[in-house]
């Protein structure tokens, strides 16, 4: 919807769901796509429907059977949706949702004994979601995100170190995301021909290429999308977020 408004001042620091979910679905098909059946549960809001459309389109293009069920923000009982998806017998289940319902889905999958491979949007790897579910319920679940606090990367390690020194806790995705967005604005201001002219700053931001930020290397496209990368992670039995694959956009 935001892209449809053709607002030249629109920029998005997060990865677009369509690209993320396209890459995520491709990864899950490669790993688990034995019978060509894909299930999905999604939040019935604008972002969730967008992600669902991406997976549906991917399945149509690749001749895969697709079945999806929606949920409303704040839903607490998703057993009906999960039971129906399980009856469809998919190779794997994709999920798009926000923090509270992500924990509910993971917990109720475990309670219903559904052990079908499961890949969720970025909320799954957030500390506040990991804290809400037991280890055995979340172990082996995949997450499609754009940020992992990976201390092997010196740039991210430095950010984590400074964030922890300042705030006393490990930065989660939102901190990294908004820090990266601010870095993009600063880059726009730094490279603009005239910092008093909004169009000049906007133009400078549109020209961002290979900007190293906390969340990845930004390349701005013509729509204002600050494209970077999709990271496929798997949660292990101790709730560590293990990187399985990283794909640049």
């Amino acid at each position: 919807m935001l892209l449809d408004s053709n607002n030249p001042y629109f920029f998005r620091s997060a990865s677009p769901e369509n690209v993320q979910f396209s890459l995520g679905t491709k990864y899950m098909v490669e790993q688990f796509g034995d019978t060509g059946r894909v299930g999905m549960i999604f939040n019935n809001d604008e972002a969730g429907r967008g992600a669902m459309n991406v997976v549906e389109d991917y399945c149509a293009e690749n001749d895969l059977e697709f079945y999806a069920e929606g949920l409303n923000s704040g839903d607490k009982d998703l057993t009906g949706q999960l039971t129906k998806i399980n009856d469809f017998d998919p190779d794997f289940i994709m999920f798009y949702g926000h923090d509270p319902e992500t924990a509910v889905v993971v917990r109720q999958l475990s309670e219903l004994g559904i052990d079908t491979p499961f890949a969720a949007s970025s909320a799954l790897a957030m500390a506040q979601v990991l804290d809400l579910v037991d280890n055995e319920a979340i172990a082996g679940k995949f997450c499609i995100t754009d940020y992992v606090p990976d201390e092997s990367d010196p740039f991210i390690a430095d950010f984590i170190k400074r964030f922890e020194a300042r705030w006393g806790e490990t930065p989660e995705r939102y901190a990294a995301l908004h820090c990266s967005g601010a870095m993009a604005v600063i880059e726009g201001l730094r490279t603009a021909e005239d910092v008093d002219d909004p169009t000049s700053i906007c133009e400078a931001m549109k020209n961002i290429k290979d900007l190293q930020t906390v969340i990845g290397v930004y390349n701005c496209d013509e729509n204002g999308e600050l494209l970077h990368s999709a990271v496929i992670t798997e949660i292990d039995e101790n709730k560590n977020v293990v990187v399985k694959d990283r794909q640049n956009m």
Partner: protein
């Protein structure tokens, strides 16, 4: 289908418990308590946030401490808010009063524990399996608790002096007062008791919903629906209504997209209000 029936039955008992709590307050004060979902939420925060996570009490001890705390909270609320509101000339004051009470409880929760959800690790988690059918342990505890509460309330109402006094007050406050029953104290006890039921619900749904500000919003509304469907003001009606709502909304997903599950419950509510306002068992109450 069998799994959906089990899911519906399990949620139905949650709604039934909420319906019972609604009914108790309605019968004792003639008020609809629109803050009762916040009582449930507050109980979950007291149990998990205060007693287990902050004070480090073992869950069993924390349950007892929560029940006592919430009973006392219910009594204070009854004496300070419900009894004065029940005496007002219009029920509108009372309805607004309970809504505002809910807002106050929400803000107390937000200021004390913050907006982020949390849970109690390994508390009532796990499942029981019967062949291909699965039911969460939390649901089993909810069903057992509902049975214990219903049986306990029946014994209280039929076999004890306090219970008979509660029934007298619910039937005719003036006559009860003339017979020497302290109506204000009796109402305070009943609301304390309903608060205890709220705390049982709040504690038992933690493994299902996590502890968060809006955890009881929907079950609060569904509990009201259960009361209407079963027959408002009649305890067995709340149970029958709760089970019916739970099963109907769960089975509805076989013919409708599951996202409309809540709509089914509320269509049921509207249908009963329009065509059978006394509910399924309302005539038995009389």
């Amino acid at each position: 289908m069998a799994q959906l029936l089990i899911n519906g039955l399990a949620m139905g008992f949650v709604y039934a418990l909420v319906g019972i709590e609604y009914t108790l307050i309605w019968n004792s004060t003639g008020l609809l308590n629109f803050s009762h979902d916040k009582f449930i939420t507050f109980s979950a925060y007291i149990f998990a946030g205060m007693y287990v996570l902050s004070l480090g009490l073992p869950p069993a001890l924390a349950v007892i401490a929560t029940l006592i705390t919430i009973f006392l909270f219910g009594v204070v609320v009854a004496l300070g808010i419900f009894n004065p509101l029940a005496k007002m000339t219009s029920n509108l004051y009372a309805i607004i009063g309970t809504v505002i009470l809910g807002r106050i409880i929400s803000e107390i929760i937000r200021l004390t524990w913050g907006p982020l959800p949390f849970t109690v690790d390994n508390f009532l988690t796990g499942t029981f399996s019967i062949g291909p059918l699965v039911i969460g342990k939390a649901y089993v505890y909810i069903i057992l608790s509902a049975i214990v509460i219903v049986v306990g309330l029946q014994i209280l109402f039929k076999a004890t002096k306090v219970g008979k006094a509660i029934r007298c007050v619910s039937q005719n406050k003036t006559a009860a007062a003339l017979m020497g029953i302290n109506v204000a104290r009796n109402t305070a006890f009943t609301i304390g008791l309903s608060a205890v039921i709220c705390s049982v619900i709040g504690i038992l749904v933690i493994p299902l919903f996590s502890v968060e500000m809006n955890m009881a919003n929907m079950i609060g509304l569904k509990g009201f629906t259960s009361g209407v469907v079963g027959g408002f003001g009649y305890l067995p009606g709340a149970i029958v209504g709760g089970l019916l709502v739970g099963i109907v909304e769960s089975v509805s997903v076989t013919v409708l997209p599951a996202v409309y599950k809540d709509c089914v419950s509320f269509i049921l509510l509207i249908a009963f209000l329009l065509f059978k306002p006394n509910g399924l068992l309302g005539n038995k109450q009389n």
